[in-house]
């Protein structure tokens, strides 16, 4: 059974200028352990698809099951519970809490999900190559380091699915490489399924599957040979 099963997912927005079809009948099936890259131009619907996958947004229609169970929609608290139990999220601008240290940023997420484990937090920071920065504040480390902390934070609670929206969009090429390598390493070690939105074709090599989206529809779905 696939981990994620989406059938004929639609997400339409009522606007003054008319109905905007951000997603218009998307079918996706993702198996456990896959690293999926969602590629597409601006306004193609890839972020809306990510939001629907994460339970941040509710599809207008269609079926969405996660590990065989229907994902809640239009109910803020149930959707939050779904995210808490299953989803890890990495933002483009890292969104680390400036008042907490690197280590505390990870501990906070563990604490909120009821799985506080400081040793695991330290191990994760070691995994992303930041064991020497645990007591620093986010403002004291570089953007690439902050994104790696964000990755460690997102997998700290052992999510089933890790999502990322343009997570290297704010980084230079060299730093992007470091971040993606850390991400792949972490996902493999933790056996986490991941879906990332990007328009950077160079990231294809870090994925196992590439889904291209345009005008709210999937236009191609290919498996990547020999991913890094």
């Amino acid at each position: 059974m696939p981990m994620i099963e989406m059938e004929d997912i639609k997400r339409h927005y009522e606007m003054a200028s008319g109905v905007v079809k951000a997603l218009d009948g998307v079918d996706i099936s993702i198996e456990k352990g896959e690293r999926v890259l969602l590629l597409g131009p601006s306004g193609s619907g890839k972020t809306t698809l990510l939001n629907c996958l994460s339970g941040l947004d509710s599809p207008t229609s269609g079926q969405y099951t996660f590990n065989g169970i229907e994902v809640p929609r239009n109910h803020s608290e149930r959707m939050t519970s779904f995210r808490r139990e299953n989803i890890g999220y990495v933002f483009q601008f890292f969104n680390l809490l400036q008042d907490l240290t690197v280590l505390e940023n990870i501990l906070l997420i563990q604490e909120l999900s009821g799985k506080k484990d400081e040793q695991r937090a330290r191990d994760l920071l070691d995994l992303v190559g930041l064991s020497n920065e645990v007591d620093r504040f986010p403002g004291e480390i570089s953007g690439g380091q902050q994104q790696r902390v964000a990755i460690a934070r997102s997998i700290a609670k052992k999510p089933n699915l890790l999502l990322g929206d343009e997570l290297t969009g704010n980084l230079d090429t060299l730093t992007s490489t470091k971040v993606m390598e850390a991400l792949v390493k972490a996902c493999e070690k933790e056996k986490i399924t991941s879906v990332f939105v990007t328009h950077d074709e160079s990231l294809v090599k870090y994925s196992t599957r590439v889904i291209r989206v345009d005008s709210g529809k999937i236009i191609s779905d290919t498996v990547v040979e020999n991913p890094e």
Partner: protein
């Protein structure tokens, strides 16, 4: 270009309606408070000047009173005195009037459903055509006319409602052993009886328990049997208003009236008259009300300043936040090439418009506030404030100060924002702030969620400090008055309620106590003789003679009136030295210490006294003696008799007849409590304004805190934090702010109470300030509850957060 920019700014500001309204509200409140207090203070000045005026509308308050309560001078003696005075008058100001008057203590007998009630009273015999200390009958606030016939009386307006008296009613009144019926022909006021309390006490009994009436001289003759012209008081009215010493000031202002007094003393000696001479500052009933009025006026200054400070802090915080939230837009416009000058124009105009609207609302509502405060004071004093106006200068001063605060608090952050590097703002670098290692160490032991709450709260230390300062000042408004009232009630009421067990204090003429003692023994009552005379005086450090009351008690601890000994010992009889107790107010003013021997004047004779202890619970300055010692000094055995009555025995007509006044303890207590309540009523408006400010300030800060934390709350929500978890975080933060704010509030309230008490306290009145636990806890929990009550707003905001939009924001 500018017009479009300004339009953009207005629309942009309009999007933050709540914050915008908060600023307009605070500006309005600040202006409202300024005009209310300014107008109130200005019009209080008119109050007594109208009443005391030497014109057709006024009652022409005397400048000097010459009286003797134990004898009655004949009309010839008075005429001779006045004639001699006129002959010796050598001052530049003319002596306008010298008039005799008969003022006698007595009783009013009123029939009620349960029988006859004897009411302690005072009767004036005022001749038709009198020029000094006349009855004041202002249009629309009094009724009827002055008494002219022998069976007519004017009743003081303070008591008519309580006693259900009106024009045409017949009342039975007495003085000494005689009584007669009079018809009420007028209801008016008298400048000596604004404080409706018998001489010797500052506490007016409950309304209707003390009556003052104004007969004609013919009426007084009919009541007392004394011939027309007999007087026990001579009043002098000097041209203009000779200055007299104000007892509540350090300076001595009494030179002008002293010259008058000197002539009067000489004439009294020549005429062989024995009398007490008092100016306005020494006439307690007049001075008490002057000081009350001054106190009421004086409080408006700190209250206005406190309100202005709170309003300013809130305006500064809110406007800064409002403009700072525009930083991104400013950066975008700067990137697009809009000049700093063009941008700033709008940000200069916006505060002016916001402030202008707030000022307009405040100016429109201000007069209502001033009139409301004046009505409150009028109700407390019981005298109408007829002339009311708010000068234009009050409006202009308040508005210009407020506008200056608004303008600078709006323009400054805009100037700051326009100077920021646009790239820094657009990349969010201006919001990157490295956390504090000290705070990290302090909070590292806490769970991370709570640690985050603490760190987020102190992220903007200046704002937090300003908030605490505003909360502190708000509670200074609310709590200081409560603390003074509680301290006052705690010391004064409890001293009468708990430390004393007499039922009635029966005043007697010197040597007449025997009849009262006989009455008491005949009714199986316990009794105790007391001497109480305001005939002590002492020079303060400035050389000004300060009058105090000498009280002689037979026993300081076990009898009906015991004293609350604060420190030291009770006096013991000794042949070598005169041991006394002194109240804490006098000790503080004089800077005396226990164990010191001091020179004082007692009943005109200088004498050395040794201070052996300090007492608490006296409003006026008091020195306690062993009664036998005081008898030796004054030659008086008792001025009143305390009586403790067994069940079934009550004050009756016969006791009224043999006394010169009766005060029942219950009545006194009710009077004190009612006075405190009335005074508190006046300040209640200010207190609740303080509470409203506390709520507004806390709400403002909480909303700003939550709004600023949208970023982190949205991040946590996306990462799966439940509303409950985040709610607990916000609650913890609120509790923390509430506790710290509450503690600061208690501290400010106490400091405010100390400051207010110092400003109210004078030689005549001393206000002790006690940190009453219940008030402190009330304040602390009040702030805590307000802070906690704000948590649902944060939770509501969380629940309604559009996460998809937020994620978009987080990704931009």
């Amino acid at each position: 270009m500018s017009a479009l920019l300004n339009k953009r700014l207005m629309r942009s500001l309009w999007r933050t309606k709540l914050r915008l309204l908060a600023v307009v509200f605070m500006v309005s409140v600040g202006v409202f408070a300024g005009i209310t207090f300014g107008g109130y203070s200005h019009n209080l000045d008119n109050m007594y000047s109208t009443m005391h005026g030497d014109d057709e509308e006024g009652a022409n308050l005397a400048d000097l009173w010459i009286d003797n309560g134990s004898i009655m001078w004949t009309s010839e003696q008075v005429e001779s005195f006045c004639s001699e005075l006129n002959e010796r008058w050598n001052l530049t100001s003319n002596l306008d009037h010298c008039e005799g008057r008969s003022i006698v203590k007595g009783a009013m007998f009123q029939s009620t459903d349960t029988g006859s009630v004897t009411i302690n009273s005072l009767w004036h015999g005022i001749p038709v055509g009198a020029n000094v200390d006349t009855v004041w009958m202002p249009d629309k606030h009094s009724k009827g006319r002055l008494a002219s016939n022998s069976d007519e009386i004017v009743i003081d307006a303070h008591v008519t409602e309580a006693l259900d008296l009106d024009l045409g009613d017949m009342i039975l009144i007495g003085a000494g052993n005689s009584s007669a019926e009079f018809e009420i022909v007028g209801i008016g006021f008298h400048p000596l009886h604004i404080l409706m309390a018998p001489e010797g006490t500052f506490f007016p009994p409950e309304e209707g328990d003390y009556v003052v009436g104004y007969l004609s001289d013919l009426g007084m003759e009919r009541l007392t049997g004394n011939t027309v012209g007999s007087s026990n008081t001579i009043m002098l009215d000097v041209e203009g208003k000779p200055s007299y010493d104000l007892p509540d000031t350090e300076e001595y202002e009494g030179d002008e009236i002293d010259r008058v007094k000197q002539i009067v003393e000489d004439v009294l000696e020549v005429e062989n008259l024995d009398a007490r001479v008092r100016d306005r500052g020494q006439y307690e009933a007049v001075e008490v009300m002057r000081q009350d009025l001054e106190g009421a006026k004086r409080t408006t200054v700190p209250f206005t300043l406190m309100i202005a400070a709170i309003a300013s802090i809130t305006i500064i915080l809110s406007l800064q936040r409002l403009v700072q939230s525009q930083a991104r837009e400013i950066a975008v416009l700067r990137t697009l090439g809009v000049s700093r000058k063009s941008l700033l124009q709008g940000y200069m105009i916006a505060p002016v418009i916001i402030g202008g609207i707030g000022c307009l609302i405040g100016c429109l509502l201000g007069p209502y506030g001033a009139n409301w405060m004046l009505d409150l004071y009028q109700d407390i004093v019981g005298v109408p404030i007829i002339k009311r106006d708010i000068p234009l200068t009050t409006y202009t001063t308040v508005v210009s100060l407020t506008m200056a605060v608004v303008f600078f608090s709006g323009a400054f952050p805009a100037l700051k924002a326009s100077r920021i590097d646009p790239l820094e703002v657009l990349s969010g670098q201006n919001e990157v702030k490295i956390g504090s290692n000290i705070i990290k160490k302090i909070t590292s032991w806490l769970p991370t969620t709570l640690s985050l709450s603490v760190r987020s709260s102190v992220r903007k230390p200046i704002r937090l400090t300003m908030t605490f300062l505003a909360v502190g000042i708000s509670l200074m408004l609310f709590g200081s008055i409560q603390m003074i009232s509680a301290g006052f009630e705690n010391t004064l009421v409890s001293s009468i309620e708990d430390d004393q067990n007499w039922d009635a204090q029966v005043y007697v003429n010197p040597g007449s106590e025997g009849a009262v003692v006989d009455w008491a023994e005949g009714n199986s009552c316990e009794w105790e003789l007391v001497i109480e005379m305001p005939l002590g005086s002492v020079e303060d450090s400035s050389g000004v003679a300060r009058i105090f009351t000498m009280v002689g008690l037979s026993d300081f601890s076990s009898k009906m009136r015991s004293v609350n000994l604060l420190s030291g010992d009770l006096p013991e009889k000794s042949d070598n030295e005169l041991q006394v107790l002194m109240d804490e107010g006098a000790m503080k003013f004089l800077g005396w210490e226990i164990g010191e021997t001091r020179l004082v004047t007692l009943n005109g004779e200088e004498s050395e006294v040794k201070i052996v202890g300090i007492t608490r619970g006296e409003l006026s300055r008091t020195m306690y003696f062993d009664r036998e010692d005081l008898t030796q000094i004054t030659g008086v055995n008792a001025t009143s008799v305390y009586i403790m009555m067994p069940d079934g025995v009550e004050v009756d007509f016969s006791l009224g007849e043999i006394s010169v006044g009766i005060v029942e303890r219950v009545t006194l207590l009710n009077g004190v409590e009612s006075l405190i309540e009335k005074q508190t009523d006046l300040f209640q408006a200010i207190m609740y304004l303080g509470l409203l400010f506390t709520i507004a300030v806390m709400l403002n800060t909480m909303i700003m805190n939550v709004a600023e934390r949208d970023f982190e709350l949205a991040t946590l929500r996306v990462l799966g934090a439940s509303t409950t978890r985040l709610g607990i975080m916000l609650l913890f933060e609120s509790v923390l702010i509430g506790i710290i704010g509450g503690l600061i509030g208690v501290l400010f309230a106490y400091l405010g109470a100390v400051g207010l008490a110092a400003s109210f306290s004078s030689w005549q009145f001393y206000f002790p300030v006690l940190l009453v636990d219940s008030v402190a806890f009330e304040l602390l929990f009040g702030v805590l509850i307000i802070a906690v009550a704000m948590t649902p707003i944060g939770i509501w905001r969380l629940r309604n957060m559009d996460l998809v939009e937020k994620v978009k924001d987080l990704s931009n």
